[in-house]
């Protein structure tokens, strides 16, 4: 049987490189979704990793760090927050 491809659609799937079914500890929305202030997941709402290995939506974490009570600490372990990396 000979098949001639006349047309094709490319389809791609993306997801953040985090363990399956994990949610942001601050907003409790999955990492593959976006933080509550954003409308679309992806480049506009990226994730941030701390030196302590904890991950959050970047917007969620920045808002926490701006809160007086945060004292610049990770919301999980209360160690001083240091950025390991941000994915854009």
């Amino acid at each position: 049987m000979k098949v001639k491809v006349k047309r094709w659609h490319g389809v791609a799937v993306w997801r953040w490189d985090v363990p399956n079914e994990e949610v942001c500890g601050i907003c409790r929305v999955p990492f593959d979704g976006c933080c509550p202030t954003c409308k679309t997941p992806g480049d506009d709402c990226s994730l941030i990793w701390g030196e302590c290995t904890h991950v959050f939506h970047m917007h969620c974490l920045l808002r926490w760090l701006q809160t007086e009570g945060s004292r610049g600490q990770c919301p999980m372990d209360r160690r001083t927050w240091g950025i390991k990396f941000i994915i854009y």
Binding site: I26, R28, P36, K39, G69
Partner: protein, 177 residues
């Protein structure tokens, strides 16, 4: 061919028309669905449409405060979970960690709050205050002193106060069922 960028634009236009549900409301909704309320706690919502303001009653089944019904109001602001819920006891009770105005001294409601905590953590914390009042971190210094120096006397004072009697010249609310 689906134009993905125009979908994004249409969606965001549609979102703007809807009444805005705040991030705090979304998060509280999630907290409530995950809540495992024990028999000793009951929640009520005076305004069904308002998830951010509600009442909680605790009926301890053991400890000094067994037999009482203790009522609290929860007010959650729009900065939740970055700000902790504001919790007050709506009765005047004799407790080392709750003052006569109803302010509650619980670390996770103050300096140890962090946004990864949820309503369940707060409820468990409150329940714990009635099982194990803590004399080391007092808001009612008299009650704390009694608990530290004379547990029998403290227990007697708790029972008196719960019946709506005076303790050391201060009248307390009757909290018995």
């Amino acid at each position: 061919m689906i134009k993905i960028w125009s979908i994004k634009k249409d969606n965001s236009a549609a979102e703007k028309k809807k009444p805005k549900v705040s991030a705090a409301q979304i998060r509280v909704q999630k907290d409530l669905t995950e809540l495992a309320l024990p028999d000793t706690m009951q929640m009520s919502f005076p305004d069904e449409a308002d998830l951010l303001n509600f009442n909680l009653s605790i009926t301890p089944d053991e400890g000094f405060y067994r037999g009482g019904v203790f009522r609290f109001t929860f007010n959650i602001n729009n900065n939740y979970p970055h700000d902790p819920p504001k919790v007050r006891c709506s009765q005047k009770i004799y407790h080392p960690n709750i003052d006569l105005e109803g302010n509650v001294c619980l670390n996770i409601l103050r300096e140890d709050w962090k946004p990864v905590l949820n309503l369940n953590s707060v409820l468990v914390g409150l329940q714990y205050l009635f099982l194990e009042p803590n004399a080391d971190d007092p808001l009612n210094k008299d009650a704390a002193e009694d608990l530290r120096t004379n547990r029998k006397n403290f227990e007697y004072n708790v029972k008196q106060s719960m019946r709506g009697k005076d303790v050391k010249g201060i009248n307390f609310d009757n909290v018995l069922m």
